[in-house]
């Protein structure tokens, strides 16, 4: 009974009821996004959708509806750039099959609290799933293949879980780049050029990668010849590498099954690994505090690339190792390993023994509460923001700035907001001692009128006084600050 009351009160507290918007074959997903408001769920029915969809709104769910094996398919025909671009917070994209785009299947720019799951992504150009500048994201149960850079590319993000995905036939399976607090767990990375890469790319505005756990993944037979675009960083990754850690810090590798990768199982290296890239003195190049706990590794290094073969020859071996620390900084004792004797290795002689045996205490790197969700905005909020953000830049209430004070404008237009709205669209110089006002004609007539009303309602007490002296009542309904 208590539970029911709680449930009821929760339901009653919900401010807006989210709507379902159904998109059918032949209709446009973007049209549905344009209609959608905070909290809405867009249900995409089976069919083929040839479009690029952008979501610049908060709290929108784009959900495919799969019916008896029939998926909604977003088809780029190798002509369209990206299937889905989002910038809003709390965006969810799920249950879509996405094929043949040139850029990405799903790309996020600065949206927080994103969820990308249960998508089936085939040959979508440079990346499959690519959140950038996002905080608090979950990427799970996606299947991706045929990507010419990274199937899953987490770039410049914080707090992300990448779990239960299958990535194959791509150049890089999963990349965690210039990102902090990431958990890469229970993924199956196979038949890529390289399976899982954790690294710093120099020259990006966010410079660090640290606090990353790579745990319980299958990293198998990543021996696909590199088909990355010439000049791309990923095109420089040698074929046959299970895992790469380049310049990242505080990386823990535990419980993975790493087999059949023909150059090496795990490569620990610094920024010199990638050649012919402009250097960046602000990017710290060394891999520090790398911890390889217990993993299952065998049959790696059967046919290593020439550089690795040459290195191994110094140890009188012709096959590559399970673990390769190829440069000085990667070979330092701030890195550690458990049961080193189980593996073939190169360059880990000075490594220490790890003082932890498991990362099990970390269940997730997602935040307990959403990262900075934006407030639900009402129309009145929008108008107030517009006034404060733009108009108030030149019009103080009772002080001369670039433009005349709002008070003076109120005195002139107290009963005529439409007059202000019209003036905004086509300002003509009226007061000789002020510079001309820039036109705001790009705002809709409705918005101009609302802003005008807002301006007239600033400090209503003063306005009443003005109106009283004129013997009239101002058309001002909204109280305001």
């Amino acid at each position: 009974m208590k539970k029911i009351t709680l449930l009821l009160s929760l339901l009653l507290c919900m401010p807006v009821l989210a709507n379902d918007i159904v998109v059918k074959d032949g209709e446009s997903i973007q049209a549905a996004v344009n209609k959608a408001v905070n909290g809405d769920v867009i249900l995409v029915q089976p069919g083929t959708y040839r479009e690029s969809v952008y979501i610049d709104k908060d709290n929108i769910t784009l959900r495919g509806v799969v019916v008896e094996g029939e998926w909604p398919v977003m088809e780029g025909d190798h002509k369209l750039n990206d299937a889905i671009l989002y910038s809003g917070n709390n965006v969810t994209v799920e249950w879509l099959k996405i094929m043949h785009y040139k850029g990405n299947a799903i790309m996020g720019q600065s949206g927080n609290n994103y969820v990308i799951r249960n998508n089936w992504i085939v040959d979508t150009g440079v990346y499959g799933i690519f959140p950038q500048y996002g905080k608090n994201g979950l990427i799970e149960y996606n299947v991706l293949s045929g990507i010419e850079d990274a199937a899953i590319y987490v770039g410049m993000c914080d707090n992300v879980d990448v779990k239960h995905n299958e990535v194959f036939d791509s150049v890089a399976g999963i990349e965690i780049e210039n990102t902090r607090h990431a958990l890469v767990e229970n993924n199956y990375a196979h038949n890529n050029t390289a399976g899982i890469l954790v690294f710093i790319t120099p020259g990006l505005p966010i410079k660090t990668a640290y606090d990353i756990i790579v745990r319980n993944n299958f990293v198998v037979n990543n021996n696909t010849p590199n088909f990355g675009a010439p000049g791309s960083i990923v095109s420089k990754v040698p074929v046959g590498v299970g895992m790469v850690v380049m310049a990242a810090d505080d990386v823990k590798i535990e419980g993975n099954i790493i087999t059949g990768n023909q150059t090496a199982g795990i490569v620990i290296t610094d920024l010199a690994f990638v050649t012919d890239v402009a250097s960046d003195t602000e990017s710290e190049p060394n891999p520090d505090n790398i911890q390889i706990l217990d993993n299952l590794m065998f049959n790696n290094g059967a046919d290593p690339v020439a550089e690795v073969k040459a290195a191994m020859l110094t140890k009188f071996k012709t096959t590559g190792p399970d673990i390769l620390a190829n440069v000085g900084s990667a070979q330092e004792p701030d890195n550690c390993i458990l049961n080193a004797e189980r593996y073939t290795s190169f360059g880990i002689g000075k490594w220490s023994k790890c003082d932890i045996t498991t990362t099990a205490d970390v269940k997730t790197y997602l935040l307990p509460a959403d990262a900075a969700p934006r407030e639900i905005e009402t129309d009145a909020d929008r108008v107030a923001r517009l006034y404060k953000g733009i108009c108030a830049g030149c019009h103080a209430y009772n002080l001369r700035m670039i433009g005349p004070p709002a008070m003076a404008i109120q005195a002139q237009y107290y009963d005529n907001p439409q007059g202000i709205a019209d003036y905004l669209a086509n300002p003509v110089k009226k007061r000789p001692d002020f510079p001309p006002m820039p036109s705001q004609g790009h705002l809709s007539e409705e918005l101009r009128l609302k802003v005008a009303e807002y301006m007239l309602c600033l400090s209503p007490k003063k306005l009443e006084a003005v109106a009283a002296t004129q013997g009239q009542v101002a058309k001002c309904e909204k109280p305001s600050n």
Binding site: D82, G103, Q109, I390
Partner: protein
């Protein structure tokens, strides 16, 4: 004739000495807070990942240079437009940073005193207060450090610290104005630099139609413009990867391999100050704010139009690198195969970044009595005598 004008304006300047009062109100985009001007914008409410001040639409800005007083900013405005800051009184800061040209000069390579040519194109000053590094090759790390360059370069403003200080101190209006702005500190080289930096940091352009879209007023952009925005941020064109909103620069160095104007050797860019071979031909990613107004484009002004400029990026990686040269071209430069229509849409979008609503007022007169207008016309009127100097090869 010109001499008479100078004399006339000098005596008028003296006669007006009494009515020189600096503004006590902060410029638009700033609010007064405990006696100083603090930057304020709709963007101030938004967070950004790692406080980097960049990312997507509703994302915060980098930390601004603010905290100057209204008087310091206004004094900087007078200095900025005053040709007295140059060695021969012929050019002001505004000669190469003209307000009506997005604070550039419309020239490929800028012109200094005696018609001498600078090595690179004058960059826009809009939003310059948010930048961590300045100059095309990023060699300065503050506005105060940057402005020493043009002030004292022989072929730019051609002044010396001694002459600058002496000429301003010899002007009773300036001595008084510096007292208004800096109190007991008065008129020193440091307060000159501070005032100029204060004015430059007050040049805010963040109210374009793009910004309204970013803040949620989606109706202000047309369909072709939105299409252009989506091409801009797509990973095919990748413009937004370096020209990252809200400033439309990620403030990093990038080696693009753009062509030099005919007859000019390769500009080694950031290799100069750093000595780092991998940064050969590297330049700071410029902002795209008000880009519509700042033609010609690139460090050398090689491209006359926006259309030509965006087309550069789809003509193939390294296509303009001189034979025998090797540059470590940025990884985002590739072969995106953009169509003509896509290039047109990109230009449509770039024009939504235009906003001059917080344009400062050009002073009708400056304390020296020299002509503000003549200095503004300097780029057009002075005959060019190309002189190769400075740090580029």
């Amino acid at each position: 004739m010109r001499c008479w004008l100078v004399v006339l304006s000098l005596c008028c300047a003296a006669a007006w000495a009494d009515d020189w009062r600096l503004k006590t109100v902060c410029p638009p985009g700033f609010v007064s807070d405990s006696g100083v001007c603090r930057f304020s914008s709709l963007y101030s409410d938004y967070p950004s990942l790692q406080d980097a001040g960049m990312g997507g639409l509703k994302v915060g800005l980098p930390t601004p240079r603010d905290g100057f007083t209204a008087q310091q900013i206004d004094l900087g405005r007078l200095l900025f437009f005053d040709p007295m800051l140059s060695g021969d009184g012929s050019v002001s800061c505004a000669s190469c940073h003209q307000p009506d040209k997005g604070f550039t000069d419309g020239r490929a390579l800028s012109r200094g005193i005696h018609g001498q040519t600078a090595e690179r194109s004058a960059p826009s000053l809009w939003n310059v207060g948010f930048l961590q590094t300045l100059f095309w090759d990023a060699r300065a790390s503050s506005l105060e450090q940057q402005l020493l360059g043009p002030l004292y370069a022989e072929h730019e403003m051609g002044n010396t610290p001694e002459q600058l200080l002496a000429s301003l101190r010899g002007n009773p209006i300036y001595t008084d104005l510096f007292k208004q702005a800096f109190g007991d500190k008065g008129l020193t080289l440091d307060t000159i630099y501070t005032a100029l930096a204060a004015f430059e940091a007050s040049l805010i352009s963040l109210n374009s139609r793009y910004d309204l879209y970013a803040h949620g007023f989606h109706e202000v952009l047309s369909e072709p413009e939105i299409e252009g925005m989506n091409i801009f941020r797509s990973f095919v064109a990748r413009c937004g990867e370096c020209h990252t909103p809200p400033l439309f620069t990620n403030q990093q160095l990038a080696v693009l391999g753009t062509p030099e104007p005919a007859g000019r050797p390769l500009d080694i860019g950031a290799e100069g100050p750093t000595g780092d071979r991998s940064l050969r031909g590297g330049f700071k990613v410029p902002t795209l704010r008000n880009i519509e107004l700042t033609a010609p484009y690139m460090h050398s002004g090689r491209f006359k139009t926006l259309r030509e400029t965006v087309e550069f990026y789809t003509k193939g990686r390294g296509h303009a690198v001189p034979e025998g040269e090797h540059l470590s071209i940025h990884w985002h430069i590739w072969d995106p195969k953009l169509t003509d229509t896509e290039l047109d849409r990109l230009v449509d979008f770039l024009k939504t970044l235009t906003d001059q609503s917080f344009m400062p007022v050009i002073p009708e007169r400056v304390p020296s009595g020299l002509s503000v207008a003549d200095a503004l016309d300097h780029s057009e009127t002075v005959e060019s005598t190309p002189v190769a100097m400075g740090d580029s090869p």
